[in-house]
Symmetry: C2
Subunit: 386 residues, 2 copies
């Protein structure tokens, strides 16, 4: 069965919208008890984000808040503040993704909360971080994609910038946040001490730029967008066929030889311009022309079958409906149906954390605003006399 490795961990979750809730979603999926502290009346901003279910509930919210509990507290109200501070005493982890400075203005700084609970892991996820020269800016995903350089290397040409089709800067920050939090929790087992974590969306996106930085550092020239092509592996890109485009990734000389064989293009295998991966990358434009000419002679499915038989990595460019229909993903348990509480349902991605040959047990219910108020008070504060 799936171990719930974070079982027993209490997470006080002040996050809203995407980066923070995605982080605590991962913690909840792994067994932590995540308590969303939401502002009264409206709750997490994402409750108002479309698309919507027929019940009026946000599908956006539903897909990233499964398995969490909700309590509404007004952090500017003195009674609610007392409740909140009592919950802080009982928490292992506090996560927030306010703009830098907000918690300080609420007189709830990391320093003061960690003084109250020295074992607390306080994790702040923000656009630009809490420390540094220029933190007081608002960030949204597209701002960070633009500032990080990611947008400058994504697209078909430098004239037409492209945003990654998912809010990848938020998502990356959420996952990096989970790594940092769980690591700090583990470190506390030895040290007994909490940790203040300060993660910035900009830092997290830069850390994911991979070889773009080393290419700039070695060549001194800023990398440009390459469409579907890899900067240093060739062929590794999309090609048109007689009908739909496919991607082909011949990542080494053996796969290159197999590809030439599959295309019945022994002449390319013998062509000195294309001998090594370095040669092929140097002459990528000529190679693309040759391969495109041949691939245009047959439909995608025909090529994909031949390439699969030859063991050459290749794939169709699947649309979301095709992805949802993939039997392999279903066999992995990668789809999870949420229950809207009124007889309807919503398909969402499941969790990738497969352990001991089992996908994680996931909750199907969407937490209502303040739904677990009494339960949380009863369970967390029963033994707290403060």
């Amino acid at each position: 069965m799936h171990p719930r490795p974070l079982s027993g961990l209490r997470v006080l979750d002040l996050t809203r919208v995407l980066a923070g809730p995605y982080c605590t979603l991962l913690l909840a999926d792994l067994g932590a008890e995540v308590v969303k502290v939401e502002q009264p009346v409206t709750g997490d901003d994402a409750r108002a984000f479309g698309p919507f279910l027929q019940t009026g509930q946000s599908a956006y919210f539903a897909s990233i808040n499964r398995g969490k509990k909700s309590i509404a507290l007004n952090l500017k109200d003195s009674a609610d503040r007392e409740t909140f501070l009592s919950l802080v005493n009982q928490a292992d982890v506090l996560v927030e993704n306010f703009r830098a400075g907000t918690m300080h203005k609420l007189d709830l700084s990391a320093e003061s909360l960690c003084q109250r609970n020295p074992r607390l892991i306080y994790a702040a996820l923000s656009g630009f971080g809490h420390a540094g020269s220029h933190t007081d800016r608002a960030a949204y995903d597209v701002v960070v994609q633009a500032l990080s350089g990611l947008m400058s290397i994504t697209g078909s040409s430098a004239d037409e910038p492209v945003r990654v089709g998912t809010s990848i800067s938020d998502i990356l920050t959420g996952i990096f946040g989970a790594v940092a939090i769980v690591s700090a929790v583990h470190g506390r087992t030895e040290s007994g001490q909490g940790t203040v974590i300060d993660l910035a969306m900009l830092d997290c996106t830069v850390a994911a730029l991979e070889n773009a930085i080393s290419r700039f550092a070695t060549a001194g020239v800023a990398p440009e967008p390459l469409g579907t092509r890899h900067p240093s592996i060739t062929p590794f890109q999309a090609f048109p066929t007689a009908d739909a485009p496919i991607v082909i990734a011949a990542g080494n000389d053996t796969l290159w030889a197999a590809l030439c064989d599959c295309l019945d293009r022994g002449d390319l295998a013998d062509d000195s311009r294309f001998s090594s991966n370095g040669d092929r990358t140097t002459h990528h434009a000529a190679l693309e022309t040759e391969l495109t000419t041949t691939l245009a002679t047959r439909p995608a499915d025909d090529w994909l079958e031949r390439l699969a038989d030859a063991g050459v990595p290749a794939a169709p460019i699947r649309s979301i409906d095709q992805v949802v229909a993939d039997p392999h993903l279903a066999s992995r348990g990668m789809w999870h149906t949420m229950d809207d509480g009124q007889g309807g349902s919503l398909l969402t991605p499941g969790s990738p954390f497969r352990m001991n040959d089992t996908p994680p047990p996931l909750s199907a219910s969407i937490p209502g605003l303040d739904e677990h108020h009494q339960e949380i008070i009863a369970e967390w504060l029963a033994t707290d006399s403060s």
Copy 2:
């Protein structure tokens, strides 16, 4: 100071290329002792990937293997196998990113290694996972970007697919892998039991698709690529100006009003087509035309200054050289210089794991193939009599 929360953790790292090495890079940055087990003579395939330093070392390899130790072992040689199995006895974590089935063929299955060391966390990162209906395919990042649907929602039009400019499927899998591993290590503190982790690049990329799945699930129509635009927040995209494009993210009605004011376009604020975010999203094409007309009248820097003063999130689309020159990233300690061992250096991204107001201490040396053979044997096997 920065706590090293994974200090004392022994990681046996069989990974090559990107997804696996990125995962163990995060563990090393957080204090784990990561021992790369490499094939003799050639080592990690990525040692042969460009760009290269003047020493001939791979900058690609250098940027994702800092702080690790290297031991060369031929897992098909009986003496080396014995050494390897003795190291398994001492390891907390084993990570591999071979194609599913490879470790089994080497007679080193997860089952047999966990039988040998029941406290072992065995993490397999692969393209399609070890369990499921169709795992025996080779994966490269571009194949997973295509199969996951990510490519279908990234780009300017459905006719021209675009790959995210970094190997994001590899990177996501590496970070998700670190979450799973550290969680399992923490869970072991209570349970005493190891865990077999089976992470698939395809699953990890699908889990990062965010609202693309809920949009399909609620509307029944597969989402299309939107250039730089957000599907449900408007305006939230890039616009041309008199010189360079900029991104603007007016994520709520307050910011929308501030934007109209900043552009001296009170008429748009009063226009009923653009009253709410939902209205603006419905009429995004008309809105884009209006905003583009106004933004074309001044250069980017002029607009960015005005927008910053008004508190409207906006940014230039920075190239990699501009990102590297950012003083804020420098003030965060987000750049790390690797030492090539011969007087030269290489700029790489640092770690985003800032803790207790300090970036992690990072190694500057590039592990040579088999460099730490004797050290590892001496330290790990000193107390092992098996």
